[in-house]
Symmetry: C2
Subunit: 163 residues, 2 copies
């Protein structure tokens, strides 16, 4: 199978990126290590909070998305990581026993100004629950290798006029 | 000790939030669970990458910061979580054996429009390495409880004029 390169992404494309059942054990294990707030750690303590029960850490949601993308997407692409994240929104809690799906929407693509073999793809990733309600959105612009490097770049006048 | 409330934060304040030694074992353990790319998992495979050796996942950096804040800051504050993250920048890799410090700068504060007992504090958090080079910055606006709820809010004309 041909790996996905920068040229394969077009604004408006939407892809499903797997599905995962979130267990109570993993919510608690993540919280114990990275975000030990009572609402992520302990069912009894969590009942007193705004959400009325145990919920996953927002950072856990990010990590779950990363793992889903790793399993279903990145391995099939010339993925080169991202210099950061543009925005994360935690819209609704993820509770134990929920099945979560990931969805990717391509927002825009742009060539790298400095590297003719690389381009950026801006995505909105969503985690949605079983009723198709988004529980998290994340905007990020990872780099991908280009199938056909832009040989014009870096050659005098043309390079100077690139946006 | 009095817990920190919304009123205790002022733009320009800077605080150190602990220090942590990042081990090879934890870099690999995180990657195996959440971000299994070779550069985060395997020293030999990582040597071939851009960074020339094993580096922590960017998501791991976020989780390390969250844990440092949990240990050194959140427990002493009326912290109520955040609805998301405004921006993350991964500026330099974190390598095994590096000691990382966290630093918080208050950028702005604003009262909640809907809840008189709550306010937002916008922070720039930085992880810096032993040479004081920032390796990650993160902008986020968590909510904190107010010591003195704004009793004017929600009372007719005054509420209507709030920004």
């Amino acid at each position: 199978m041909s790996r996905l390169h920068w040229e394969d992404f077009t604004p408006g494309q939407i892809a499903e990126c797997g599905s995962r059942l979130i267990t109570r054990a993993e919510i608690i294990a993540f919280a114990a290590e990275y975000d030990p707030q009572p609402m992520h750690l302990d069912e009894a303590a969590a009942r007193a909070n705004l959400f009325g029960g145990l919920i996953a850490s927002g950072w856990h949601s990010c990590c779950i998305l990363m793992r889903m993308l790793s399993d279903d997407f990145i391995g099939h692409a010339s993925f080169m990581g991202a210099p950061g994240v543009e925005e994360v929104n935690w819209l609704a809690p993820i509770r134990p026993g929920e099945r979560i799906k990931a969805r990717a929407t391509v927002l825009e693509t742009r060539a790298s100004r400095s590297r003719p073999d690389v381009g950026f793809v801006k995505f909105r990733f969503e985690l949605v629950n079983a009723t198709d309600q988004p529980v998290m959105t994340l905007i990020v612009s990872p780099m991908f290798g280009r199938r056909a490097p832009d040989s014009a770049r870096g050659r005098g006048p043309k390079a100077a006029s690139e946006r």
